[in-house]
């Protein structure tokens, strides 16, 4: 068999590019709502289960599952943002513990509905490229959709409709005094970001086992991305996610899948130790 390296790189590229969608959502929440959303991984899992449920009803393509997952994720995200995150966002205990509670709530609910066993979503036959390289169809679809969505996000943020988001990230008091409904924009952004995580989960569902706790690793990956790349540049988030996707895939391939999660956890610990200030915007602006 040929060297596994090109295959690991390619699959890592596909996965990382799609994780970027989720990480960008995390960055959006961090920038506009100014909270760390520990339930972001649960929305990823939600998207994967939506794709699984659709595949069981004969709709096999993640391209159909992603919009549906995004709508469901948006609905839940708006609910969570409006009724929990907005009221408690300035309380340093309630927020991380509460969003973690939401994540565990969803994990347990998923376990009760679909069971704890790993499920799989069939993804169709892959193309075989030069040198026996397996080009997975879902990977190409996921990578391209994610890149397109991120391009769209970048465009929205830099144009007129994205101005309120940028202004709230910059100074919410001025945004409020200009007549913007800051609260509404906050929970809508929260919902939109959750929709991005759910879409990423649906797109990536064929890549591995669908389990109730599958969202934890992407959550940590997103955290690493926003700690390192910040929230300003979509391109930096995209590139770093790809790097981490390849890194995680290499760990999974050469060690074991479990180690890619441990490696991400260790990266979070190292980063926080090396950068105690963490995410500057959050540490500095907390009221």
């Amino acid at each position: 068999m040929a060297s596994p390296l090109p295959q690991v790189l390619l699959d890592g590229l596909f996965a990382g590019g799609t994780y970027a969608l989720m990480a960008a959502g995390m960055a959006l929440i961090l920038g506009v709502v100014k909270v760390i959303n520990l339930s972001h991984g649960a929305f990823f899992t939600l998207g994967a289960y939506v794709a699984y449920a659709l595949a069981g009803r004969g709709v096999g393509t993640p391209l159909a599952a992603a919009p549906l997952a995004a709508v469901i994720g948006f609905a839940f995200g708006v609910f969570l943002g409006k009724s929990f995150v907005n009221p408690v966002r300035s309380h340093p205990f309630a927020l991380p513990v509460g969003t973690l509670a939401c994540a565990l709530l969803f994990e347990q609910a998923a376990q009760m509905v679909w069971g704890p066993h790993p499920l799989s979503v069939a993804a169709g036959a892959p193309w075989i490229g030069p040198g026996g390289l397996v080009i997975r169809r879902w990977g190409v679809i996921a990578f391209l959709s994610s890149a397109a969505l991120l391009g769209g996000l970048k465009w929205v943020l830099s144009s007129r409709p994205g101005l309120p988001l940028r202004l709230i990230a910059e100074d919410e008091e001025i945004a409020g005094s200009l007549g913007m409904d800051v609260e509404a924009i906050r929970y809508l952004t929260f919902g939109g970001a959750c929709a991005m995580a759910a879409a990423a989960g649906a797109l990536l569902s064929p890549s591995g086992a669908v389990t109730p706790t599958m969202g934890r690793a992407p959550l940590l990956l997103s955290l690493v991305v926003v700690i390192v790349a910040g929230m300003d540049s979509v391109a930096a988030i995209f590139l770093l996610s790809i790097g981490l996707g390849i890194f995680g895939n290499a760990c999974a391939w050469f060690l074991s899948p479990q180690w890619s999660y441990v490696a991400l956890l260790a990266t979070v610990c190292l980063l926080l130790s090396a950068r105690p200030a963490g995410i500057v915007a959050l540490a500095g602006r907390r009221d």
């Binding site: 205990f93 513990v97 973690l100 509670a101 441990v262 979070v268 610990c269 926080l272 959050l282 907390r286």
Partner: protein, 325 residues
């Protein structure tokens, strides 16, 4: 009782010189009544199942109170408090069945190890602020959990596979402890541990830690070495968590990966939030009540975690500052 002067005035008052208006031991009467009821309960010859539920509840209560030393009194939101608990549980199991240590020595070593682990977590998280402490402790706890789940080895008499999901058994010097003795041992342990933690929380160090929790910058400006006190909080809280973990593993007879799980850390935070952060006794009472309630309903484990999460969310939503304030 309410108007009685505090039994011991703090040497360094950080409250601006005025003596506390209420005795720090108020509510002690209710507590004594509760302990009396719990002491009487086994005499009503209940089902062994309920005795077991209560025994586990007492150990979880000590664990919840130890969370409160770190998360409530000192305001360091830890989401990895299962790490010292599980570290003590695993070292107890490994030292007795693998290394053949006598049980008391193994328990002492386990508590010591938990304290060292806590000092390490404290040293790592001391420079961090707010939510990043939660992130770091969560990540550290998850690493330990993954290692415990993934690490399997062949050992022991008969060459059984140890570790992994099945966990590691403890070599206990007794066979089948009676549910009554376990119940009373756990209750005595809970009372002693809670009393110890209350003493710590009401000591000078505890008072300074409350100042650190209130405003780290003000505390630092008053000359408090906040990093050292954060380490102290983690060390003391983790030592008590380790004691609870050792007690738990003696009761259950086996250290498993769930002793290190995120769900367990989360449960401690839930008990603390529901019972009132910073009160030590509140989280312990909440732990007993909620555990007995949810376990007594004999729901499946995932439904229980679901109920814990719901209880917590409702509490946080309507009392974001905490139940006790």
């Amino acid at each position: 009782m309410r108007d009685a002067a505090p039994s011991r005035a703090p040497k360094v008052s950080l409250r601006g010189g005025t003596p506390p208006a209420r005795s720090p031991w108020r509510g002690g009467g209710w507590l004594a009544a509760g302990i009396g009821l719990l002491l009487l309960f086994p005499l009503s010859s209940p089902d062994a199942f309920f005795l077991d539920v209560f025994t586990t509840g007492f150990l979880l209560a000590a664990f919840a109170a130890s969370w409160d030393v770190v998360g409530g009194v000192s305001g360091q939101i830890t989401l990895g408090h299962a790490l010292p608990f599980g570290a003590a549980a695993y070292s107890c199991a490994l030292l007795t069945s693998f290394a053949g240590w006598p049980l008391p020595l193994a328990v002492a070593a386990a508590v010591l190890l938990a304290a060292v682990v806590g000092a390490g977590i404290g040293a790592l998280s001391a420079p961090l602020a707010g939510p990043f402490v939660a992130l770091l402790t969560l990540a550290l706890g998850e690493i330990a959990h993954e290692v415990a789940v993934g690490h399997t080895f062949f050992s022991g008499p008969g060459g059984y596979a140890w570790g992994g999901e099945g966990g590691i058994p403890v070599a206990l010097p007794w066979r089948d402890a009676s549910p009554f003795s376990s119940y009373y041992a756990a209750l005595v342990f809970l009372c002693l541990a809670t009393f110890g933690m209350l003493l710590f929380a009401r000591s000078n160090s505890g008072l300074i830690l409350r100042a650190v929790a209130g405003s780290p910058i003000t505390a630092q400006a008053s000359g408090v070495p906040i990093a050292r006190f954060k380490r102290l909080a983690f060390t003391v809280g983790s030592a008590f968590a380790g004691a609870a973990g050792a007690g738990f593993v003696l009761h259950v007879g086996r250290a498993t990966a769930t002793d290190l799980s995120l769900e367990l850390s989360f449960q401690a935070a839930t008990f603390a939030a529901v019972g009132g952060r910073g009160t030590i006794v509140g989280p312990a009472v909440a732990a007993i009540v909620l555990h007995v309630l949810f376990q007594g309903l004999s729901l499946p484990p995932s439904a229980r975690v679901l109920l814990y999460a719901l209880t917590l969310l409702v509490t946080l939503r309507f009392f974001p500052r905490g139940v006790a304030t």
